[in-house]
Subunit: 385 residues, 4 copies
């Protein structure tokens, strides 16, 4: 029997956590063959070198696609996407996969979708059907309309994809693979490494053993010019609280330099005593750090997904996670230092946070692989209404 | 008062007829300034040099975008689109329009959508909400999800776009501009030129004054390898009927050479006596030819739209117009010479065909311009459900 | 022992004849491994589908690179080249050759040179050091300055490359592989097939057995607008002589459509009785046709190289072969029907033409392979003066 | 009278200093019209935002071209160049200049050359004919072979370009515009600003008023992996001398991150007391800093050109300036901390350095403008031998 060749395209560090357990399951599945393409910022040191983690985890990278165009404006985002279409078209032409998997809603994911759909390759979209409200929103639903199979992360998302006119038989709620990693970590959640020794980071030595915060704040693409201002609110808030804090640099998009520059400027001028800055950690280590933290601050979807499952309180800043289904662990505030400070103080009072399975019960990877092995593969569809 | 700068991108000959009356209305509108971009196959002699007609009609072309990659496979289609994203990103970066208009559902139209949406320029999609069933189907609805304003051609289409989660206030049924041209022609419909003298064409002299057929058959993108076979059925059918026929070459997509090669081969081998082949005519002349014809054969959407309004019988072949709302003038057949012959014979019996206004009453251009002048321009939206 | 991986890039039909015997020799060489890349117009049906001949000759194509941008202007030539750089960079990144071979001086060959040189891969340039006088001239010498090893076709060429500041030890006169094919054909030169039966072509039946002409006229890139006018002079001349003629369509460059359109127009209007038009023939068949012809007319370098070795008279039109070293078989004329007619008449008087070995003695392929196996491979050089 | 439209393409910060006085002269010239294109790293904050200086100096930027592809390998360099060809082809197609100016020998400058030459636009190459010995060497001479007019910076260079087969009438020794800036500065050379107050920089406060060193060390493209190691030798040497030092970050090429990362690592680990790091200064300020310094260390061509004219001693490290004609102010050493230390000590002993005019007497800008206004503009050339 010929195995189905499943080509997964990873374009950024965060996407890897969103798919890792599925990659493992695909690789192990008797009816599937994994073709792995690593592209875009996932290849770049500036954005955390996701490719190194991928290789260390034992995956073979079939193709590397350099496609990130430098530039401090949205034009570069658009052109990166166009370049991605061209490059990925070549890749699929050569790999001849039976299906291509595109992940979620980053701007460049539509390049994968176009390159596959236009070449009549069945397209599988992971994590469609969610709601956010900026360019990601447009990209996500456009991916849905280009895709033939939809493997979504929640019931809410499944219903939305069906409402978008997709065939319900082709929309499966598998949960989110990021929850699989969280589940694994919960089984052995002690912080068994020293983050500073292992990962370095920059900034002062911080004494985190008595409890610490984590910050992950990404630029919101459509508010590009404000990125520097926005992050500064958070920096002031965290600095004033004076609790040891692990701060993670943002990933790439056109606002990236605004946020990064905000952080760099603040560091030079204020030399915050109790914040240490990190580029990246292995997902497992990151989850251990997270589950042992007092609170996550920022606008990362990690706060909505993993933290719900792990029961970690979250101060979610701004509109980036707008209308994403969330658990009781999340407290929403705007880009304002007072609100951020108060939000964190509120969270620190919590004793126990209810854990939730909105985004899955930790078996998403296996469910994704099973769906890829068993669903019929078409590239021809018509809207249902 | 500053005029709104409306940037319209035309990527192919047929798209021009779909937008021409709107271009006129935009140009004349006191609150609008037209920025016209001509791209892709609309610039190429092989596909009918639409740009010449555009210029002859008195429009100023602000930018020309060469983006068609040669190649006899779907990979070229995908890469053309990627190149289009890159090129159009530059164009919008420079023209700084207040809104960009993308037309319908050809594969490369998504390049316009991405280049605009990713640069935070409000995107207007013309003629969304229809149903066909191949790659155009995916592209059309993806365009809808990337667009902020939807100017559709029928009530059916309007309802569908709203079901796709768009804000009903941003979905306007303007009718199709192609009907505007048809309306004008009906006011003076005599065939007042000799098509062969005026346009040449290749093949035998045909004596069309006593009545003639018209054929327009495009390759269906997803059935690329069959294009040659499919067109040959039509060629045999038409040749055997021996009625004078004006045959129009297909426009570009990756099957283009299949269909064209089918036609060329048949011509060399069979030298059909009563068929003359044309690349293109001015839209007005084409409509006059159409309204005076006995029957249109093929798979062009002209059969569904203009012919409904004009009351011209149509033998519609194959799946290309699948599920598009149609009037009583259309008779559907498959790619089979017998069915095509019988369909044509059936049509030739008709005396009077009921005219319809499914796709508008001839005022679409003005309605489009008014909508562009009055609707609020945003680039931020969220799905309605 | 590891074999040296030699990556040869073929971008057009005529380049294949220029390298074929070397490909055979590389493939057979115990110290070499052939990596074959077919790119550009060599992949396209419109330009004779060179790739099919390559595959039929038993070569494995490692990569196909679609890079030809459509357009009727020099801009398309430039952009095709840029696209080629991007695509070929990927290809070399993946194939990791020990050396890359770029052939002669077509505009897109510099893409191969840049993609190799910039990635620190030793670059071998075949057939540098010649003189022509248009864009090819610039491209050829720029290729020389980017290349590390030069395998040239004549002593004249060798001296010129050395004058350009290259290390004489890295400049080898191997002769031209096209002569190798000619040598083979001379050993069995009877016209043992019927060109019309085997290749079809279009136009009238012609009765060629009593003697015939061959025409190969390419557009001269820098005189793009004149291409149509130029070819018409030749068409009138040939038509008036009324000798059976095999006419070969030009290969791609931006003037291509000018020349092709000139031919098409003339055919429609004048229906020349004694000319039959061909897209392409297998190189061997073409050489047999050539050696048995009365005269070659046009501006192809075949007239300068192969015809010198074969002893076929040539009427060489215009500036395309300007200053290329030539034998006694060549008679130069300008784009003027009278001069062309008189030139042909002159040639038809010749009884015996002295054969020459200016461009090699038929062992170029083996010499090229030997050079590739034995020369030191560097990518670092400095001008000699 | 129509003015000649001269399109100058600046792709990097250092190129701007190499052309600035010529831009001024072109702008002022009664027979010339300046079209200014800023491209590549000259647009990016990471590489010093040259575009801001250009605008501040009163120039109007006609087109901005984003073309730098991210990636930590030479493949990105190649693809950036390919993208540059595509983008610049569009730009020249639109601007329709009478001549295009490409500057010196950075890898991406060949994109300008191809885009112009292939579109039959006369190409002017500034600063050809020099010798270095890595990829710049190949690019420079390839630019020469693509160019029609050569405006060189020294007699040595002029002779070399002529030896390359160029028409001597088209090769003019104008001197280097960078010397024009140096001449201006010499007229008022007091260090009338505080570099740290004005430009910030990072690192410790340094007390430079009693004398200081300057370091500019760029990665050598072909020794990419060594960049980090190489720069560390210099860091150790400078740190051990403990003289106040202004250190300038390298500009972009694929080794950039190696060098930058070397610097960052050293800073984190060793926190060198007496070094302050700067991204960039206005050229005028930089020259003032330079003329007042004790010694320039590194591998910048500033050491060869400006420092010769200014009489500043230079410790030139490694092969980057290999075989470039140099004055008595230059002391060559290899990448070795001992040699660097000894070199600097040697230089510090010098009292007076002989000034030289090898690279011009400070009138290059005017000479360039005059040449552009008076030389015949052709795009057709043939090698002289």
């Amino acid at each position: 029997m010929t195995k189905r060749k499943i080509c997964v395209v990873i374009t950024a560090r965060p996407s890897y956590s969103r798919i890792k357990s599925a990659l493992v399951a695909i690789k192990r599945h008797s009816k599937l063959e994994l073709q792995l393409v690593v592209a875009g910022s996932a290849l770049l040191g500036r954005y955390g070198n996701a490719v190194d983690y991928i290789v260390n985890d034992g995956f073979k990278v079939d193709e590397k696609v350099f496609m990130v165009l430098e530039g401090e404006n949205p034009t570069a985002m658009a052109k990166t996407t166009g370049l991605g279409v061209m490059e990925l078209s070549n890749v699929f032409y050569k790999l001849k996969p039976d299906a291509v998997v595109t992940i979620a809603d980053r701007f460049e994911t539509i390049a994968t979708s176009i390159a596959a759909a236009y070449q009549n390759i069945p397209l599988v979209h992971i994590q469609g059907g969610e709601v956010t409200g900026n360019i990601d929103e447009k990209v996500r639903h456009a991916n849905t309309k280009l895709a033939d199979i939809h493997l979504v992360a929640s019931e809410d998302a499944r219903n939305r994809v069906i409402k978008l006119g997709e065939n319900p038989e082709m929309v499966i709620n598998t949960g989110c693979p990021s929850i699989d990693l969280a589940k694994e970590v919960l089984q052995n959640s002690a912080l068994d490494f020293n983050p500073i020794t292992k990962y370095g980071g920059v900034g002062n030595e911080i004494f985190w053993k008595e409890g610490y915060l984590i910050v992950m704040q990404h630029p919101v693409t459509n508010e590009y010019k404000q990125a520097k201002k926005d992050v500064t609110e958070t920096l002031i808030a965290i600095d004033s609280l004076d609790i040891p804090t692990f701060w993670f640099w943002p990933n790439v998009d056109s606002g990236s330099d605004g946020t990064s520059s905000g952080i760099r400027t603040y560091r030079e001028l204020k030399q915050p005593k109790n914040i240490r800055f990190f580029k990246n950690m292995e997902p497992n280590d990151f989850l251990k750090l997270l589950v042992n933290s007092k609170c996550l601050i920022g606008n990362s979807s990690v706060g909505i997904r993993e933290c719900s499952y792990l029961g970690v309180p979250v101060v979610n800043i701004g509109s980036r996670q707008y209308r994403r289904q969330r658990g009781e662990n999340v407290l929403d505030v705007i880009y304002d230092k007072e609100q951020i400070i108060n939000g964190i103080k509120e969270c620190l009072k919590f004793k126990i946070i209810a854990k939730g399975t909105i985004y899955g019960d930790g078996t998403a990877g296996i469910k994704i692989a099973d769906a890829l092995a068993s669903l019929p593969l078409h590239y021809h569809k018509t809207i249902e209404y």
